[in-house]
Subunit: 258 residues, 2 copies
């Protein structure tokens, strides 16, 4: 798939240098790439080293509503010397609706409003097709992003739907480290896939996440086959990941990708 | 109790400046204090700010065998701008034997060699008297250490027998943050004490610690009453805490004590 840039703007960086934000389309998939702004004109031209890349995962709520948090994470990543990129998930945001996904989300909503337990079939119907469709798209994005001048890898994957992260970590050899957020439903079969993951992992768990089954998150952490895996559990609820936890994830990527 | 220094030597620091190591006695309790070496003579005399202090806990194996690991942790702490200190535990090392403790350790050894489960009575007999005796001694050490010129607090407690850390965090208001190692037997009653701990906590768990009950460690983490509590779980077995985990504990103390 071909990557076309559709817009470019300059943002203030997290500390020091500015950030270039470029929206793109990959076929019909919208995405965003963030890179450090080049040094101002009269500075001595240095042969620029290709940047390691962090793929920013996100929950299936759409790039637009997620933008404020994504740009915050991207600014961090760029300040640490990474390029950062994300793409929209299938069936979400401005992308064409997808009946099976809509149905699964409606079923989940109904069960949760009724206060019933969320059964395996609903989780499977909600997550597995999303993983099956999204993962090849993220891999295609990787092909296109790594072909751009100045972006060279290695590649990390961070956050978002944890099952997408697990599948990517298992099948995509260019991803060398992953920071996963254990905060969403995980289909049973993903525990088997987790055993086949061997790259270094940094797993974030919000201990008091009301909507998340803590024991499943701990079982998943236990299942990962990686020799280096770290679990960071914090307080603050589902969306209250403390700032110091985000910084710890930065350091994890710095340790493994640079 | 009076603190008397009995020896002093200069050690290489972890990065940059040297470390002064002073052995002391507090009554009949041996201890060690580590502080940054003063800047060399002709440097401009700056009014020195009193140092925050980290108390270094350790397992009940004696200060001498634990010295290499303690001095490593102390070098780290001093490089981060802390004073660090430790004292011997009652009944351990060069301190007078203590029949009840010897008996409890013998009982534990017998049960473990027989491959039997370690019952609550053995854990209670082993840990509770140690906590009851050690905690007042650490508080007395705090009185003496904070009275020294150049040491001003705030105070953190780090590592060692976790039940001693829990009790200290609960009863000693001068301790403002604690990094605890969930790697030893915890009496049932300590779970109740844990609920009354409210200071920021950084809890380290070795996920694949053969000699440690993981579920008890997770239950203990859950029990702590602190609004800010973080669990860091890593691989590497009981004594294989990775270097990056030690650095994360340093950053926890820097965030809370400086």
């Amino acid at each position: 798939m071909h990557l076309d840039f559709t817009s470019e703007q300059r943002l203030d960086g997290d500390r020091g240098g500015d950030v270039i934000e470029r929206e793109f389309t990959l076929g019909d998939i919208p995405g965003i790439l963030w890179t450090p702004a080049p040094a101002p004109a009269p500075a001595p031209a240095s042969p620029s080293t290709p940047l390691p890349l962090i793929l920013l995962g996100h929950p299936p709520l759409g790039l637009r509503p997620m933008y404020p948090r994504l740009v915050d994470r991207a600014r961090h990543a760029v300040a640490e010397g990474f390029a950062a990129a994300t793409i929209e998930l299938p069936g979400i945001g401005d992308r064409p609706r997808w009946d099976a996904l809509e149905q699964a989300r409606a079923d989940l909503g109904r069960v949760m409003r009724a206060g019933e337990p969320v059964g395996d079939e609903i989780v499977d119907a909600l997550v597995l097709p999303l993983v099956d469709r999204a993962v090849p798209e993220w891999r295609a994005a990787l092909d296109a992003l790594l072909a751009l001048p100045g972006i060279g890898g290695p590649v990390g994957y961070s956050g978002g739907v944890i099952s997408i992260g697990i599948r990517l970590a298992r099948v995509e050899p260019r991803i060398e480290a992953a920071a996963l957020f254990a905060g969403s439903f995980v289909p049973r079969t993903m525990f088997e896939e987790a055993r086949e993951v061997t790259i270094p992992l940094h797993v974030l768990l919000q201990w008091d996440d009301e909507g998340n089954e803590r024991q499943a998150a701990l079982d998943l952490f236990d299942a990962f086959g990686s020799k280096e895996k770290t679990l960071h559990a914090n307080m603050g609820g589902h969306s209250g990941v403390p700032r110091f936890a985000a910084e710890a994830a930065d350091r994890f990527f710095t340790r493994h990708l640079k």
